[in-house]
């Protein structure tokens, strides 16, 4: 008989699934958005994404050394955080700002809580929030996508000083709300662009089609379930729809809201981060409705043109409470005392 027989608890087999595979799936789903960013905003976009990923991975590696824990960069979660952070910032953000955001995202967003699985807030959104608070101007400077302006074939660092800034669809939306005029015009002219991405906006959010493609990939691979994205989009749609019905000149039509800004991106990639979202299905519905509603609240009623980052962070804070509220009942019902 062989000497190397092992004895462990059952089960003795498992599905070939690992955390790394899950993260890899997310990274693959982000490829269309990365490609769109590269096409729309050229070299600097790809440099920014690469830079953020590198800094996220390096920061996690250093943090593991300091904590004297085994190296966790192999699980690719830092890579995903880097990509998500880069895709959620404006295309002209300087590389050094990307690095700062990455360090904050990993250290404050993940490591201080105890590493992957222990964090309360979405690390990429923590990084972005820090950048928004610290470098407000940089975070609200938008760029004309390259295909729109043939005069700017490459948005290289030297061009950044001279880039023409262009208001984003959400900025127009805000103007329309203030002026109570113009929404219809923007709807007609710009809706098609919100789908393809030839508009201003953050790196990953402009091309709605690319984001949708990635989102569908994740759904098919069962990496994410439909509950959170559906809840986010439906609740946002309903809120936007109500506003639109009230005043069509002031408020953009609901589909416009779905495809503008970071809502689609947030619905499929940010709000679905498993660590910071509820565990149960009922909890996921609540979470998604919260994200969608608060986003639209900020977009329509609040001062800020965009609300995804804040709504996700707010709902992340409430997730432990949601988990407690939405406990599962066993299949045979609650045990009778």
């Amino acid at each position: 008989m062989p000497e190397n027989i092992t004895v462990t608890f059952a089960p003795h087999i498992s599905k070939p699934l690992s955390t790394r595979r899950v993260m890899l799936d997310v990274a693959v789903a982000l490829v269309p958005a990365i490609a769109a960013a590269g096409y729309l905003f050229r070299v600097h976009a790809l440099l920014l994404i690469g830079f953020c990923v590198a800094w996220c991975v390096a920061t996690e590696w250093v943090c593991n050394l300091i904590r004297k824990k085994p190296n966790s960069v192999g699980d690719l979660s830092a890579v995903v955080t880097g990509i998500l952070l880069a895709l959620s910032v404006p295309p002209a953000l300087p590389l050094w700002a990307g690095a700062v955001g990455s360090v904050v995202a990993i250290v404050v967003g993940k490591m201080v809580f105890g590493g992957l699985g222990a964090n309360v807030f979405n690390p990429a959104m923590v990084g972005r929030a820090f950048l928004t608070a610290s470098f407000g101007m940089l975070m609200t400077t938008w760029t004309v996508p390259a295909p729109v302006d043939a005069g700017l074939p490459k948005i290289a660092p030297e061009n950044m000083v001279n880039t023409r800034t262009q208001a984003t669809p959400l900025a127009w939306s805000k103007m329309a709300i203030k002026d109570e005029y113009g929404a219809k015009i923007y709807n007609e002219r710009q809706f098609a662009h919100t789908l393809t991405g030839t508009i201003g906006g953050c790196l990953g959010e402009t091309s709605s089609l690319a984001v949708l493609l990635g989102g569908i990939y994740l759904l098919l691979r069962r990496t994410i379930s439909i509950h959170i994205p559906l809840a986010v989009l439906v609740s946002a749609f309903v809120f936007a729809g109500i506003a639109y019905l009230i005043n069509q000149d002031a408020y953009m039509q609901p589909f416009f809201h779905l495809t503008s800004g970071g809502l689609l991106f947030g619905a499929f990639f940010i709000a679905t981060d498993p660590v910071t979202a509820p565990l149960t299905r009922r909890g996921m519905w609540l979470f998604g409705i919260g994200v969608g509603t608060i986003t639209m609240l900020i977009r329509i009623v609040g001062e800020y043109p965009e609300g995804v980052m804040f709504s996700v962070l707010l709902m992340n804070a409430v997730t432990p409470l949601i988990d407690r509220l939405c406990k599962r009942v066993p299949a045979g019902g609650k045990p009778r005392a």
């Binding site: 004895v7 462990t8 070939p16 498993p274 565990l279 066993p330 019902g333």
Partner: protein
């Protein structure tokens, strides 16, 4: 694995491991090896252990009582062969560590072949009184052969407070690799049907269902044909159910086949249902009609880690080592020997562990089958992906319970219904972080039992 029409009856949750039945499903039941010593445990059932009825040096006959019952929840044990009692000593047990057993040295030349079962031409279950059936079942020492080992006579006894209206025969065999029940259904068909009728007569059920997973079309056909030939198609309803693990769990089976939910903490008789395994039914037929005690069973030896595979009819008490040797021994890649299937089976260290009445398989696994991460037991952090919640057939929150146990918060574990866990292993199976959820939950149950003084330690 060709399946005919896919059944749709099922339960929520569950997983689909590869069924790996092709190794042994087409192998007929063969007589197994006769070991030099048989170690028959005095406790092969849920309930109080038997008291030894023989002493060292005694001569015993095949079928002689060697362990007597002195309690209600108990089942006697019998000697499978004629021989001599070598000793009564502690032998390796997969759960209890070590347990007392009667070690018997068979007489030279005793061959373990299954005696043929001839269903009487004019068989009518009504000719047997329920009491007589239950007594015969008890005296034969029959226990649940699907794995649980509950004394069958107590299960099938009629209970005026909880009338047993429905008899559900569990022919699912949902664990991967195992094919012993499948072969019993194909080869001992009439014996199984006779047993089902006797159980029905004993418990007084008005409805009888037989649930078979849809990956066993031949068995469904064979049983259907036999029932028709015997004129019993209306009396015993064959219900194909969707192939999914753990379809054979009685709570999941009752949900799928009967559409009823067994309340948490209750057992099927509380809702008027009796669930019985097919092999147990076959044993009942042998006990009542032929007066033979339960001394042998069919065991599947399988897995990539053993040289040859098959389904063998062996005496209870045969050491696992003897069976593995009979199959050509383990291969060089074998790393685990499991009593049972890969999802809920118990890994053993001592290959001299003997076969019990309730153990239907020996699965020898290689590192490839187990997977590198699982074999090396590399656990990473829980990413709260929720897959374990999705697959839990009891709708629990396995990660919460497991982490509560890990952090010694047993009250939290209780609040998340740790006692409702059926330990099926689905949660550990899907976990991407390779956390041993089932292991933590099992450990938590033991800690809780100790805390409540229900267990020593």
């Amino acid at each position: 694995m060709a399946t005919t029409a896919q059944a749709s009856l099922s339960f929520a949750g569950g997983v689909h491991p590869p069924d790996s039945k092709s190794f042994t499903e087409d192998q007929g039941i063969q007589p197994g090896p006769l070991a030099a010593h048989l170690a028959v445990f005095l406790s092969q059932h849920i309930g109080a252990p038997c008291q030894a009825a023989v002493q060292k040096g005694d001569t015993v006959e095949a079928g002689q009582v060697i362990g007597e019952c002195h309690a209600f929840v108990c089942a006697p044990v019998h000697s499978p062969v004629g021989g001599k009692v070598k000793e009564i000593s502690l032998q390796s047990h997969p759960v209890l560590g070590r347990s007392p057993a009667v070690v018997i040295e068979p007489n030279a030349g005793t061959q373990p072949a299954k005696p043929p079962f001839n269903r009487p031409q004019d068989f009518d279950p009504a000719a047997y009184e329920s009491e007589r059936i239950c007594e015969a079942v008890r005296d034969a020492g029959i226990v649940g052969m699907g794995g649980a080992g509950f004394p069958t006579s107590i299960k099938i006894q009629p209970d005026p407070k909880n009338p047993k209206e429905t008899l559900l025969i569990n022919a699912c065999e949902c664990e991967p690799y195992i094919t012993c029940d499948y072969r019993v259904m194909l080869e001992w068909t009439e014996q199984v049907i006779t047993g089902i009728q006797l159980i029905q007569r004993a418990c007084g059920a008005s409805n009888v269902f037989m649930a078979i997973e849809d990956n066993k079309p031949k068995a469904i056909e064979r049983i259907g044909a036999s029932l028709k030939a015997l004129g019993l198609s209306e009396k015993i309803n064959v219900v194909p159910v969707k192939t999914k693990y753990p379809q054979g769990g009685e709570r999941q089976l009752i949900k799928a086949a009967l559409g009823k939910a067994v309340p948490t903490g209750a057992i099927p008789p509380n809702i008027g249902v009796v669930v019985s395994n097919v092999a147990t039914a076959a044993a009942v037929a042998e006990a009542v009609v032929d007066n033979r005690p339960l001394t042998h069973r069919v065991v599947t030896v399988t897995g990539e880690g053993v040289t040859r595979r098959g389904n063998f009819y062996v005496p209870v008490g045969t050491p696992v080592a003897t069976m593995i040797e009979h199959c050509g021994g383990v291969t060089t890649e074998a790393v685990k020997v499991v009593l049972g299937g890969p999802m809920m089976g118990l890994a053993i260290a001592d290959l001299n562990t003997p076969i019990t009445k309730a153990g239907g398989a020996v699965t020898v696994l290689t590192k490839d089958q187990i997977g590198k991460a699982k074999f090396e037991r590399q656990e990473t952090a829980c990413i709260r992906c929720g897959r374990c919640l999705e697959v839990c057939p009891e709708n629990l929150n396995p990660t919460k319970i497991a982490h509560a146990v890990k952090n010694n918060l047993l009250d939290v574990a209780e609040r998340y219904y740790i006692s409702a866990c059926i330990e099926c292993g689905c949660c550990s199976y899907v976990c991407p972080a390779n956390i041993e959820l089932t292991g933590y939950i099992k450990t938590g149950k033991i800690f809780l039992a100790r805390q409540k003084k229900k267990m020593p330690g």
